[in-house]
Subunit: 432 residues, 2 copies
């Protein structure tokens, strides 16, 4: 692969190239880690001052973890790397010619290299009412809103000694890992609330329904894993329904293609993600499949020599005609690779193509139940799968203290101790 020319640009305030990374998720943080303590100057721009560990958001939503357990200040991650800075803000546009990023407050950041790591967002497939009433799980704010909705639904039903089935019916749309994990955790939350918190709910009225268009759960896994997940979910009390197509979401109901209209307290949207409508779009790079930025094998955006895209925001190539799925390992690996390539470019060395190393995928269903698909196709499940899931998530969680806290929380939950932090957090927003 040839080196395209990378011109020196006006931002060399101190003789160092300036790399601006837009987005502090898995991909953006991986790029910055790869550049930490190198010869370039790095600025991460994000509208949040923290990195969010998305794979555990569903546990915040179901009150198993607290927001601070899965979030970590970006500045603190790079406290040891004086060449990595943070800028709190939102990107409004990029001026390609001038090599300048313009932020919401009007300030301008000149860059030599720009990395688009803006992630993805929930895909609603233009289903009427979905973006308005269904609740996605793709940010800490989403998780907090969903948790409040769930806990308030339980308290409300208790207060009214409710016999209205709508008040205690929760529908999860999507049978991928997020949907499976959320449905399982929600079912456990409800069962703990009933047994330990003295909520006066009629158990037969509480329904957690998981619907998917496909004919099995976890379609990225082998069929044996799908059957296992469905069996485990059903043993937790989740109703699993296949071949169901959602045609509309209303404020308090969901309608299916077969004509059924189910009244619900909440519709949880775990039906997939898209990069459309996210920042990647506004950054004027060429869009590929699913709105993801079109990149070459070296992760440079097409028609750009100093703009790169990584993680969920990018159509990361898997081979010449395939792209990688939107997974955390892809984000981390593409981020690391991008950092290496930027250093190659700065050093006028040849660039290398990205090669994805498949680490397998996993999903957890509840305490002591998880499935993992190994790179070579094997499946681990049950307690062993759960321990693998647990260890891997602890390993990737940023910050020793977060790991310690999450480990404590999980130990509690494993032994079924009742002191989960079931706070209705938005409560704290309302004035006294």
């Amino acid at each position: 692969m040839e080196i395209r020319e990378v011109a020196g640009r006006g931002s060399l305030v101190d003789g160092r190239s300036h790399v601006v990374i837009v987005g502090g998720g898995f991909a953006g943080v991986a790029v910055a880690r790869g550049l930490a303590n190198s010869e370039v100057r790095v600025t991460i721009v994000d509208q949040h001052n923290f990195h969010t560990f998305l794979p555990l958001l569903y546990q915040v939503a179901t009150a198993g973890l607290e927001p601070a357990d899965v979030a970590y200040p970006i500045r603190t991650i790079f406290g040891h790397a004086p060449n990595v800075g943070f800028r709190h803000g939102r990107v409004r546009r990029v001026e390609h010619g001038a090599n300048v990023v313009v932020l919401d407050d009007g300030s301008r950041l000149a860059y030599d290299h720009l990395v688009v790591a803006t992630g993805a967002t929930a895909a609603f497939f233009a289903i009427p009412g979905a973006s308005q009433y269904a609740m996605p799980l793709y940010s800490l704010a989403d998780a907090r809103r969903l948790r409040n909705k769930l806990l308030l639904a339980l308290e409300g039903a208790d207060a009214r000694a409710d016999l209205d089935p709508q008040a205690l019916t929760f529908v999860v749309v999507g049978g991928g890992p997020t949907g499976v994990e959320t449905a399982g955790a929600l079912s456990e939350l409800i069962s703990i609330s009933l047994r330990r918190d003295g909520l006066r709910l009629e158990p037969s009225l509480v329904r957690v329904v998981l619907v998917d268009l496909a004919d099995r759960l976890l379609t990225a896994f082998p069929e044996s894993a799908s059957r296992y997940a469905a069996k485990e979910l059903r043993s937790l009390g989740v109703e699993v329904e296949f071949g169901r197509s959602v045609v509309e979401v209303e404020e308090r109901a969901i309608r299916f293609a077969d004509g059924e209209r189910l009244e619900t307290a909440a519709v949880i949207w775990a039906a997939g993600v898209t990069a459309k409508g996210t920042l990647a779009h506004e950054l004027s790079v060429v869009a590929g499949p699913g709105g993801r930025a079109q990149v070459g094998r070296d992760l440079r955006c097409v028609n750009c020599d100093n703009i790169w895209a990584v993680g969920d925001a990018a159509a990361v190539p898997l081979s010449d005609d395939e792209i990688c799925p939107q997974l955390a390992p892809v984000a981390i690996q593409s981020g690391r690779h991008c950092a290496d390539q930027i250093l190659h470019a700065v050093r006028a060395e040849p660039l290398e193509p990205f090669v994805y190393r498949n680490k397998g995928i996993m999903a957890t269903i509840g305490r002591r139940a998880a499935v993992a698909k190994l790179p070579r196709g094997g499946v681990i499940r049950g307690t062993l799968g759960w321990l693998a899931w647990l260890g891997l998530h602890l390993f990737y969680l940023v910050g020793f203290r977060n790991r310690l806290r999450v480990m404590i929380n999980w130990t509690w939950r494993y032994f079924d101790w009742p002191s989960g932090p079931r706070l209705i957090v938005a409560d704290a927003e309302t004035a006294e």
Copy 2:
């Protein structure tokens, strides 16, 4: 003391007297604890589903602790006591004649005994702009708002490479324990942010100013403690100013009686509390000093035979002509006493007057610096005072897991490890 007649009332759905406690703070929880597993039925009504450990709110505001560290679900506290229930809601009014509490959603709770434990709120002394622009610290919502304001001020100043002194001037009004603790913790937060988080702030522009009308801090303590606190605060970089009277608070400034107008990023209000304008008022009980409910020595509201008031919401008698200060130990002790008296009343036994046992008072200034005034007037200070403060607060914190988490956080902070959870939490509220 004679027994006044306590009539049986219609709420005896199961033959048990029904005690409704309005408020789940120190006082309300103490009443419910005293009645747990007794022959009465108890319902705690609160607009929040959690109990808040108010003495540590300033640590949430200064990002030393997370909201979940100082809050605990009320249902979980009483998970072992099947006779104690929780009702999520806000009281709209009390119908004394009918012995009914009416909630915001219109539902009615019949009671045999009603306990007013609605706490206090910040006192603004009718100073123009104070209630609008100054930030009190009396609820978890207050603490979250203040934290966001502080962290956003630091990020904003960093982003703009600000040389405007207003952007980094923080004024704390009130030299009592809350003011002293907040000023000390704020100063530590800023110093950690500067040293560890790579914020590009000009240290000479950062000011934490603590003002008080009196001529010393901590007026409830002996003068030696006041001098010690002022010296410690100044060594942390806090400017301590006495004899300063606030005449107005503006959006970005504070004006003093001597004519000075100081531009500030935030005014933190720690000038005192009042029960005026709180629920105690709306409950139509006779108001005494500071809007606190007037109660007899047995803690019954005057002119009521089955309405009691405890904690900050009540003018708890200290002697025939003195009332207790608004302190956590008073709330806890009056709550316990009230529970005993309700049981006496239900059992047609004589009531006993409340006797406050002075446990001393304490305030912390920073790591390894605190003062404690012992019941007999002695003073402990320095590291020993800090350890006493630490042990006592851990002891009173509800829930083993909260204690463990707070202990971990404090150990971190003590050793000055940089991983404090400095998340801008309201960030998470904004949509993606």
